[in-house]
């Protein structure tokens, strides 16, 4: 298995708490355990190699997708349950237990985030981290400090391998 926990060097210091660095097996376990999971994807997902893997993850784990930024285009013909929402808005709604969610069935307990600029997702997750109980798992190629758990900073090639392993384990 590719070791996705080795490089957790921070982009810049955001205080004392850091996310737990995890490997794909742990990510798979957390996703399977979640009661109301949501896959949150940023615009970077439109790279074909990633889009393909994101669709596989969603299908295999039966995850609804919050397609943020301008990522929805990628999912329209993929037979997955994807809806557009702005990620800043989503981060805020996640902190409200009364949010009906994207499907009207209630808020989520776990979000899985993929393909954002790290500074942006770090900021959005700083809100959910401090003001909600929602768990966040970052499976992008950069270490995201404000997630609950995150892959470390890995190369693009390693990232593809890690995502493939995750897909196998789901």
């Amino acid at each position: 298995m590719v070791d996705t926990t080795k490089n957790t060097k921070l982009f810049t210091s955001y205080g004392v708490t850091t996310s737990k660095a995890i490997n794909p097996d742990m990510a798979a376990k957390m996703i399977s355990k979640a009661k109301r999971p949501l896959l949150v994807v940023g615009t970077g997902v439109l790279r074909p190699e990633i889009l393909d893997r994101a669709v596989k993850i969603a299908k295999k784990a039966n995850l609804p997708i919050a397609a943020t930024g301008s990522s929805l285009h990628g999912f329209l013909d993929k037979d997955v349950n994807a809806k557009y929402i702005n990620v800043h808005q989503l981060g805020f709604y996640l902190t409200d237990p009364a949010w009906p969610g994207l499907d009207g069935k209630g808020n989520y307990d776990t979000i899985i985030v993929l393909e954002f600029k790290k500074y942006y997702i770090n900021q959005v997750l700083s809100g959910t981290k401090n003001f909600s109980k929602v768990k966040s798992i970052s499976i992008g190629k950069d270490y995201v400090q404000n997630a609950t758990m995150s892959f470390g900073t890995i190369s693009r090639e390693e990232h593809f391998v890690a995502l493939d392993e995750l897909i196998d384990l789901l």
Partner: protein, 806 residues
Amino acid sequence: MSKLTTGSFSIEDLESVQITINNVIGAAKEAADEKAKDLGPLGPTTWPGLATYRDDWNFKLLARYEPVITPMCDQCCYCTYGPCDLSNNKRGACGIDMLGHNGREFFLRVITGTACHAAHGRHLLDHLIEVFGEDLPLKLGQSDVLTPNITITTGQRPMTLGEIKPAMEYTEEQLTQLLATVHAGQEAAEIDYDSKALFSGSLDHVGMEISDIVQIAALDFPKADPEAPLIEMGVGTIDKEKPFLCVIGHNVGGVTYMMDYMEEHDLTNKMELGGLCCTAIDLTRYKEADRRAPYTKVIGSMSQELKIIRTGLPDVIVVDEQCVRGDIVPEAQKLGIPVIASNAKIMYGLPNRDAQDVDATIEELKSGAIPGAVILDYDKLGEIAVRLTQVMHPIREAAGFRKIASDEQMKEWVDKCADCGSCYLVCPEELEIPEAMKHAKKGDYSYLEDLHDQCIGCRRCEQVCKKEIPILSVIEKAAQKIIAEEKGLIRAGRGQVSDAEIRAEGLNLVMGTTPGIIAIIGCPNYGDGAKSVYYIAEEFLKRNFIVVGTGCGAMDMGMYKDENGQTLYERFPGGFQSGGLVNIGSCVSNAHITGAAQKVAGIFGGRTMGGNLAEIADYVLNRVGACGLAWGAFSQKAASIGTGCNIYGIPAVLGPHSSKYRRALIAKNYDDEKWKVYDARNGEEMNIPPAPEFLLITAETWQEAIPMMAKACIRPSDNSMGRSIKLTHWMELHEKYIGGMPDDWWKFIRTEADLPLAKRADLMKKLEGEYGWEIDWKRKKIISGPKIKFDVSAQPTNLKRLCKGA
């Protein structure tokens, strides 16, 4: 005591004694208030203090648009009790919690921005009064409402430079009161910091208004002029053969002396004068009323500061204030460029040469004995800056400083790269420099070239590169061809929107036939290159929105050309009209953008302006479809400008980096309780659609920002034609940039007439099939379904006190 006013008087029987009273505290304000009484009725909130807007307006706004806190860091390092760990909303040693601390942090950004503009206003006001006298009239163009922000806040309608003084003093007083709240943990409630931030934002627009109107009046800037001339912009417009005087910052005071000196000595064709940031925009406005041919140039925004220095082209750099980098002196020194600091706010530790003879100072700077000097005496500054530029040009040419790196040097740099990845990790734009370096090693420089447009020139990459590669210079060298072609056009800032333009456009805006006002402002810190701003502006202009711009946003809109070689400023008219592209001016001209919305409420809505912020803002929020874009919002000034728009009911979309401001204002679009207002005719509650659904938010990409902004132009009181036009644009833009139909389009439908015309039948089928609405197909009418009733004469308001019988 209160009868004393400014001026002088003599005491009888003491013939040889004269007491001169220059200022009695409160007297100027009192006298001004006396005068304001003649100017019509005033609202309830003249000269507001920290608590004035709190309950009647700010808390109402914040109840719907809830502060969204995204801390930058989970610690507070503010005082010597700490650092405290505030994670999970814990309280620190002083008792403040994570929310309160981050409210304070955001508020600090806003008040810093407010102070910048107010201090700028004070500096210009004092300087211009000294030169032109207090009685200089405020001629600003065809307007009765000359100073909407000042008037709403203070009830004053100043007509001369001197009559602005009470508003200036008042702003300074409130700034002091506001700043004091930051101390230790005292104001612990996040919501109160947000209310204070909103108040500070309103003051910011007063400070900006003062800064811009005094310079328009005294320095002959264009006065509400849609035909203000087109100005060359971009690095590529600089003639390399000529000496080049480069000015950076945001205060045109000193630069006018350089221009006067150049004109008096017939030098305008013999050297280049150009600048970065708002000073550059303002120097193109100087003496524009005389219509002399424009010769000064706008080079670009703050992100170009290091890049332009690294070209080696500037022979002298003069800085003034605000958006100026802290490393100009060491960077300039490497290339033999003397730096002159011309404003007491930035002195860079340089020696002050005000008292020294001009020739001696030129000699000293020319010799390199000192890297630069502080010169605050504008007469000397004008002469020294211009003469020194001519002296330095041949010296720097001979020393080879004006040449960029050779191909051999470039290869040497690139080959040193160890692919360690450190630069990628720290680059705020997350640019893939190591990848580009790899390709460059193999001789393919195109990847490096591609980085140029996205790189904001911050130099963070260089600071971590253990191989000491000057990465920024590598990128710029790779992009030299593109840079040489960087030539655009910008309209010289035209000043405020005239009353005549408001009268002509107001009805269209309130009715929605002009779908909205898009204000593109803000400094450069773009997620995906300056071109995004151009794309956004073009999309809205083609759809007949009014696009207004200021500062760096206005510059970037002018940097690109269409297939016919035309910039947006050439393609679209400069008037405040449907499909017009209006460059209002520099950053401080942003006050005229809120001013335009306020004037719609005042002139068109017939609202009392003086002392009536809540009522004006309520009108704008419910009726005027305006939305700001600060795509690269970066500075504290952008935070205060945006927050000032917010208190006046104007939402703004910011770029992704602005999540680092730590706070947004977003409404819960799913909570029906948030979407109710009163009908002022009878005080009854009425449902409204979730519009606008935010006051401050970030977007991830420019493609995402476009439909968000179009949607934010939808307002509760749109009539059916307006609603249908606005929905048409939003839905088309959503389809184009996001994909498919938006999920919530139906929430905006009150009657069949609201439906976009081209898709009416289709959408009615959807309403029936997917949402269970009843349709009478014969009459093509909606029978039941909508939660929101349509009543053309309803008067939506958030202020119960405005309702009949209240």
